[in-house]
Symmetry: C2
Subunit: 496 residues, 2 copies
């Protein structure tokens, strides 16, 4: 029950946090703008603006005034959203307070220098040029991890992206994948349909993306579609849902990519407005966010019913059969499985093995079991063991991803966990929405959106990620449904 004291201190805490949330939304806008709009020469000034915002938010989260407000509200034994608010803010504030300001600044500087060095090193296929920057990032990440009391240092890094998840939890799931997936990928690749043949005119893709998004529930009053070199989604504020995609004549990536980003955007858009301007008004974790993007990309966007429903419109967009093939071979082509060198080009069956590799290497770097200079060799060994392919150079190998260049260790696992969670959640959705195939075919995605809103989206961060997963699926993280999906592909079953 809310007492007078609780109400007062809760109101004051919310009033304190609201402007900090405004700054967070502003930071999201700056980042959207930088990737999708800003002229290149604006980068230096933008970097300073971002640093100022980061400092203001950090100051807000470490101020004694906030600690007092939290103590006060906690003393009143809050319940419901107030209790969740205290839990979440205390978690963030405690983390912020444990990291010295000098380390925060060193991390920011090393991230910026590292990213710049990585761009050049990747272009030149020159790992040695990147080595000192990566060594610095690893060193600072170890120092950062040391600020926390964790069972293993990697726990502290993982927790920034997946609150409450332990390295041991990830290891358990990834051990299952490591045991079974290499053989499944090989079998699935062997039985896979051929790739769709381009070129695919960009104008036709643009029309198709507009058509697909209109079908999923993207309305122009509150959604925006932009273009960016690396597609992403961003929600600077309520009613301001932005996604980006990219177009190439060589592939139909834009069609699945826009559904992926729509899934991210829909999560944020369907969070309960009562949580606006509080730290609870965001997706519960990176893995849960990725589960929503993967659900729309893989389980809706690679399914036969969905494409059957849009097939006439799709053919109209392309002025004929897209890729010159009929519906079934088209969907089979979208579902093609093949070992690839590049993570972001890989299919959802081989994808998790790319992450298993990165998870192994990150842990070894952070514990010190692997020296940074030995990373390229370890990468090649891992790719051979997990995906059975030879890495011809570092550009197509260890230098392919941006994440390590800015010190984001602990981020990668959430990608694979997202795919696994998407399979778990989709299995429940199919049970609870028995007509979902017919609905997709009829172009009626409102029931699925409403189900996701009710089960996952509206809660924001009210529950901790693990609790939310249990509340939706009735159990914890479980590779089972994903492995079932992968086994079906290995047995050559067409996409459902």
């Amino acid at each position: 029950m809310a007492t007078g004291t609780e109400t007062d201190s809760a109101t004051r805490l919310r009033e304190y946090l609201a402007p900090l949330e405004d700054l967070r939304g502003i930071a999201a806008l700056l980042s959207y703008d930088q990737e999708a709009i800003m002229p290149a020469a604006g980068r230096a000034a933008r970097g300073r603006q971002e640093a100022t915002l980061t400092r203001l938010m950090h100051e807000g989260m470490t101020a004694p005034a906030l600690a007092e407000l939290l103590d006060e509200l906690e003393a009143s034994k809050p319940s419901g959203d107030d209790a969740a608010l205290v839990r979440e803010v205390r978690r963030e504030a405690d983390k912020a307070r444990r990291v010295p300001a000098e380390l925060v600044e060193a991390l920011t500087l090393a991230a910026s220098a590292g990213q710049e060095a990585w761009v050049k090193a990747r272009e030149a296929d020159d790992f040695a040029a990147f080595l000192p920057f990566l060594e610095r990032n690893v060193e600072l990440s170890r120092e950062y991890a040391g600020c926390f009391d964790a069972a293993e240092p990697y726990d502290a890094l993982l927790d920034d992206y997946e609150p409450g998840m332990l390295t041991a939890d990830v290891r358990a799931v990834f051990t299952e994948l490591r045991a079974e997936m290499p053989d499944l990928v090989a079998a699935a690749a062997e039985r896979s349909a051929p790739a769709l043949d381009g070129p695919f005119p960009v104008d036709a893709q643009r029309r198709a993306v507009d058509m697909l998004l209109a079908r999923t529930g993207f309305d122009e009053e509150s959604w925006l579609l932009g273009e960016a070199a690396h597609p992403f989604s961003s929600t600077p504020g309520r009613g301001d849902n932005r996604i980006t995609t990219r177009y190439s004549e060589e592939s139909l990536e834009s069609l699945l990519s826009c559904l992926h980003e729509f899934g991210h955007g829909l999560y944020e858009a369907q969070i309960d407005p009562a949580l606006d301007r509080t730290p609870l008004g965001h997706g519960a974790s990176m893995a849960l966010h990725e589960s929503q993007s993967r659900l729309w990309e893989v389980f809706v966007g690679m399914s036969l019913p969905f494409w059957r429903g849009v097939w006439p419109e799709l053919c109209e967009c392309f002025g004929g059969l897209p890729g010159g093939v009929e519906l079934e071979p088209f969907v089979a082509g979208l579902n093609r499985v093949a070992s690839t060198l590049i993570r972001v080009d890989s299919d959802p069956v081989s994808y998790p093995l790319h992450i298993v590799l990165r998870f192994d290497l990150e842990q070894a770097l952070i514990t010190g079991d692997l020296a940074v200079r030995d990373l390229p060799g370890a990468w090649r060994d891992g790719m051979r063991a997990l995906l059975g392919i030879e890495v011809p150079n570092d550009r197509l190998g260890v230098l392919q991803d941006v994440h390590w260049s800015f010190g984001a260790f602990g981020y990668f696992p959430t990608y694979a966990l997202g795919t696994i969670l998407a399979a778990q959640i989709w299995a429940v959705a199919r049970d609870e929405l028995p007509d979902v195939d017919a609905q997709m075919e009829a172009g009626d995605l409102a029931p699925l959106r409403a189900w996701l809103a009710e089960k996952v989206h509206r809660h924001g961060k009210r529950m901790e990620p693990g609790e939310l997963i249990r509340s939706v699926t009735g159990r914890g993280l479980d590779a089972g449904p994903y492995l079932t999906f992968a086994r079906e592909r290995a047995e050559g079953l067409a996409a459902q």
Copy 2:
């Protein structure tokens, strides 16, 4: 000479101000995004974010720490940029401190409510519905003016847009305009060329705008062209110069509008980078800013040599003669003079009379000589007396401009002063760049850009506006060159 103390206190003052300037750049980005990018449903959340930024900036400018830094630096008798910095920051800080926080909030709320009411009232041609909001804005503006010790209340309002300019200065210049311009407009309109005949295909206009901007010195590394319902320019940071334009099949407004906004953007882009992240790193005043946009729009962009230089490319953009006419009648058409109901559609000869009317009415509202409810009648009388036209309704009359709806009294005069200053500065430019016509014809605008950088742009706010005007033109504000320009039009002289 910089003493040790001066250096230290100057450094500390700059360090204090730099993050506030970052916030100012961020606010510029938010505003750009809202007008050119953001989905409509994002408005409420964006409004809260803007209010938070405004509050942080206001707190920064009114903090005792800033007052101490200013006292300290002033005590060291600073010179050069340090002296200018103290002058400018003290001016801003003193203004900020004089206005109670409650009044700032009331002004913000009334502005937001007023703008919303105005949109509906204009659409419905219903001044009565807008009346209470406008009355509130007038009342609050009078209260705001009362916070300052000014010879007349309007001085305090004008000073926000045109620092150091007095109502009496504007009145003197506008008295000259009032005496001569109504006859000049009538004569010029009578001898004017016919309007260019549309439709003008939007695709062709887009190509033409790209071509014109490439000619003026717009490079994609540091400039961005967007679209907006009401064109504007914005410079969120160094190297990030943004302009917008709009397209309609009915007119070639986009061609002159893009040059106008380029003029604004070039001013900011050419400010000395040594002034970055200080309050000196902006244009000196609204009128000086408008002088730069008008210089490019009117004195470059309506001139025969400029169009002669781009004529083959322009015809290529339109796949033939634009508007079906040859070069000379084309330029004559761009220079057409005619009394119009709508300020933003008016030509540079009749334009200042629209401003004279608004200046008269604003003063009368602020002194109380005119009741707000009597404004529509006063508007009709003024339009008849100054421009000789009958106003058929309030939508095309007193409700046409957004400014009063958000309480921006004192802003309008800077538009006309900008046109007058543009004529003064252009007269000097022609003297000092005797080859400017040949250069425009050859498409070489670098000498003009460099001259403007040297004389006007690079100084930012180092000089007060009046001092900068004297330094460029050798005298103060002077309607003479503008009247010469208008008389030439009245005599039917073709654009130079």
